[in-house]
């Protein structure tokens, strides 16, 4: 593996956007048959670099070599023609079209006169799907698939051409474990065929499981390459964020207050059934389960976005019905939603206005918005959450993902809710910001908030929770205290193996 010609080599890539130097002279190479991890904080420039490789952006400076031949790729099609396949971070699918058309998007097989050769298209697609062991076929409409299956469609594209290099940009963010196994098999296959693979992820355990080398970017600059076998998480983190992380948890015992929220036998159609749990002031309750287990739906129901079909919700011992988010907010419940871009932020608005949006009616001077009060709220939470933004006037859409997430969290913290629900608070967030957010959630509990954390990442739940509720298929399977929980019994609970309900 050492003295081969690289499958792919980058030299001094520079890419600027108006006002941002996203890539600043990045060079590294990927060998054939190697899985090469690319790591870096949010906004470090990973996706931008890959878009340059995929022909979506043209670099301002620098050169790209494929099999040591200098190549210029003006558009994605040319990149494909040169053997570079790109599996995107954000799902990039046409939902109304069939799986086959999506997989071969942009290069449908032809007969004469530009007519699509459907027979060939379906045959080829079915062959690929066979390899991926998925439960749908070439004619299925993509929009009817689950998010995880849509991600598999995206991945299937990697197999359509004889690629020299394949780029996976955070492919596992929404895959379940069984699909992850299939994905890793596919990667191993490609590797065996001598394809060079670039793998981007924020999840250390995956990185250490499947990659051969790790290259690190920081603020658009190349920081070095490490051999996976010879390094450890701490070293990588050092390189990424310039310091080590203190992963120890603040375990100072907190005086638990009275029950803040109690849910009894709550159901909502087929989404979840008979959920019973409670959370106390000063406590962090974790919700763990596979994607699609119904945790988000419980949160949405508590926040008034769904109407429960049965069950009771009690706040501080009093039964309440919650009909809308407005109602929920008035009663002291806040939800940091799962998808910050769609549900959390008005991307075209500035930081301050986003942060004070839920309370804008209360921040008034006469009939007007009290802008001074808004700014002081913003400043307070910017300092507390260490938000990195040029000023409160900055449009939120221009912030990096982690900072956007902090704005959403700040938006709900500043409401001083009695019950704070956070849904996947660190999805797509780099390790540095992640631990900041974890500490923050613990601090909140220490101040007497009741916090519910929903997450699909086991380390996260284990790390922040005082108690953990395990869900499977719309049901609460078991409740663990921090003391009794282990990775094994948690996995059993959420995969439906252990049937003892909590």
């Amino acid at each position: 593996m050492t003295d081969q010609t690289p499958a792919l080599r980058l030299e001094g890539i520079v890419k600027t956007f108006p006002g941002v130097r996203a890539l600043d002279g990045v060079s590294f190479s990927v060998l054939p048959g190697e899985v090469h991890a690319l790591m870096g904080e949010n906004g470090a420039g990973k996706s931008t670099l890959m878009k340059v490789l995929g022909g979506i952006y043209q670099p301002d400076e620098g050169r790209i070599f494929i099999a040591e031949r200098e190549t210029v790729m003006n558009n994605p099609l040319e990149a494909k023609a040169n053997g570079v396949m790109f599996i995107h971070q954000e799902l990039s699918l046409a939902e109304e079209l069939s799986v086959a058309e999506n997989i071969y998007l942009g290069e449908l097989p032809l007969r004469r006169f530009g007519v699509v050769d459907w027979a060939t298209l379906y045959a080829r697609t079915d062959a690929i799907l066979e390899k991926l062991k998925v439960g749908f076929n070439a004619r299925t409409v993509v929009g009817s698939l689950s998010i995880a299956n849509q991600q598999m469609v995206e991945i299937a594209r990697a197999l359509t051409v004889d690629a020299k290099a394949v780029i996976f940009d955070e492919p596992t963010a929404s895959l379940t474990d069984s699909e992850k196994v299939v994905l890793f098999d596919v990667i191993a296959d490609l590797q065996a065929q001598g394809v060079g693979i670039i793998y981007i992820s924020h999840r250390m355990e995956e990185i250490f499981k499947i990659t051969d080398r790790i290259s690190v970017l920081r603020d658009g600059e190349y920081r070095g390459t490490l051999a996976t076998a010879e390094t450890n998480e701490d070293e990588v983190t050092q390189l990424m964020i310039g310091r080590s992380l203190d992963l120890s948890r603040n375990t100072a015992p907190v005086e638990l207050g009275p029950v803040a929220l109690r849910v009894e036998g709550l159901s909502c159609g087929s989404l979840f059934n008979d959920a019973t749990f409670e959370v106390r002031e000063g406590e962090v309750l974790g919700f763990y389960g596979l994607v699609g287990a119904g945790r988000t739906e419980i949160a949405e129901t508590l926040f008034g976005l769904r109407t429960p079909t049965s069950g009771r919700i009690m706040l501080k011992g009093e039964e309440v019905t919650i009909t809308s988010p407005i109602d929920a907010i008035a009663k002291g419940i806040s939800l940091v939603p799962e998808s910050r871009k769609e549900q959390g932020l008005v991307l075209g608005m500035n930081c301050r206005d986003n942060m004070t949006l839920p309370q804008v009616s209360d921040l008034r001077a006469g009939p007007f918005v009290a802008e001074g009060a808004e700014i002081s709220i913003y400043d307070q939470y910017r300092d507390r959450l260490q938000i990195k933004a040029p000023s409160w006037r900055t449009t939120v859409g221009n912030l990096s993902g982690g900072n956007q997430q902090k704005i959403v969290i700040g938006k709900w913290l500043s409401m001083r809710p009695e019950v704070l629900i956070v849904d996947e608070p660190t999805r797509g967030i780099d390790v540095g910001s992640k631990s900041e957010i974890h500490n923050l959630l613990r601090d909140l509990a220490a101040q007497g908030y009741a916090v519910i954390v929903i997450s699909s990442e086991m380390p996260e739940v284990l790390h922040v929770s005082d108690r953990i509720v395990a869900m499977y298929n719309g049901r609460i399977m078991r409740e663990f205290s921090a003391a009794e929980v282990t990775e094994d019994n948690l996995i059993q609970a959420i995969s439906g193996i252990a049937n003892e309900a909590a």
Binding site: E101, G114, E297
Partner: protein, 333 residues
């Protein structure tokens, strides 16, 4: 899967159900209210319906393509008028004197070419400037209309050529020329949209433009092609219609864009693009024309016609949404 298909059929079939309802209603109401001896659902009357649907129908087919592609074109009415002027006026240009009746195909081709050029201008602006098609074509609606007026002041442009009229009124098995053109356009464009790469790419672009770009589809040229197509179809509609009438007012074709859009939406095409069908649009056009014809048949007065058409439009939209609603677990957002 099976259920999906059923739902799809139901939602795209809504327009046909509506047409059947109209037919039944007007047939029965016609018995009581109409002065005519002849039944509403008479074959001749239905053939006439097809012919009368042609002018807006041909344009609506183009609009369907544009909307599937994720754009909109508000300038079709002005293109229609401008192409008509080119056709009728060019027939009397001195340089074509020698051609005799052969001037007809030459003028028709000139008109079609004009349509393509006007469409190209729109498409090119959308592509190169990145200004939204709604704004570009809103501007063009004014601009092209201005050109219509500049061409011949405020006078109508006329050229009544009986050979041409006879050609336009010729029929095959009772189906007259404009109706034939309309049907051919529907079939050809349907084939393009469902069978060719261009058609499938147009769907993909309308569905998720970024995905299409990422997959290496050149979005701009597809936009331009579709704008050229709708320009061409607007011109074809003008050729078909003005062959049989021979005179164009500078105001002709106003509001055609709104009726075409209405037909397309009634036909089940998603306003945001990515989903829709030419056949459904055909249904939408027929449904509107049937409504007009039927209301005339039973003697409704003009204010009622306006009121009814407006209300039906909203009602169909409402029903369509009920049918297409995600069945379970929709968030209250």
């Amino acid at each position: 899967m099976q259920q999906d298909r059923l739902k799809n059929l139901l939602s795209s079939g809504a327009i046909w159900g509506f047409i059947v309802l109209e037919l039944i209603f007007f047939s029965i109401a016609g018995e009581y209210l109409s002065l005519s001896e002849r039944a509403f659902m008479d074959l001749d009357n239905m053939l006439l319906l097809l012919k009368q649907s042609a002018p807006i129908g041909i344009i609506a087919v183009g609009m369907c393509v544009i909307m599937i592609n994720g754009n909109i074109d508000l300038s079709v009415g002005a293109i229609f008028a401008l192409c008509a002027i080119v056709m009728l006026d060019s027939m009397s240009w001195p340089m074509f004197d020698a051609l005799g009746d052969w001037v007809i195909p030459v003028s028709a081709c000139l008109a079609l070419l004009t349509g393509c050029v006007l469409g190209f201008i729109n498409g090119f602006i959308v592509w190169k400037t990145g200004v939204d098609a709604f704004i570009v074509t809103l501007g063009a609606m004014l601009g092209y209309r201005g050109l219509v007026f500049m061409y011949n002041g405020e006078q109508p442009t006329s050229n009544l050529n009986w050979t041409l009229v006879d050609m336009a009124e010729a029929d095959i098995l009772g189906v007259e020329t404009p109706a034939i053109i309309f049907l051919v356009v529907v079939v050809v464009v349907w084939l393009i949209m469902s069978r060719t790469v261009h058609g499938r790419n147009a769907y993909a672009i309308g569905d998720n433009r970024e995905a299409a770009v990422n997959a290496g589809i050149r979005v701009g040229p597809h936009f331009v092609m579709n704008f050229v197509l709708i320009g061409f179809l607007s011109a074809l509609s003008a050729v078909a219609f003005y062959s049989a009438s021979g005179s164009v007012n500078p105001n002709d074709g106003m509001l055609f864009e709104l009726w075409a859009i209405t037909a397309v939406v009634l036909g089940g095409t998603k306003l945001t693009g990515g989903k829709g069908s030419v056949i459904g649009t055909f249904g939408g056009v027929i449904a509107i024309q049937l409504l007009r014809k039927g209301l005339g048949h039973i003697g409704a007065d003009s204010e009622t016609v306006n009121l009814v058409i407006g209300c039906i439009l909203i009602a169909v939209l409402f029903l369509d949404r009920q049918l297409n609603r995600k069945s379970t677990g929709e968030l209250k957002v």
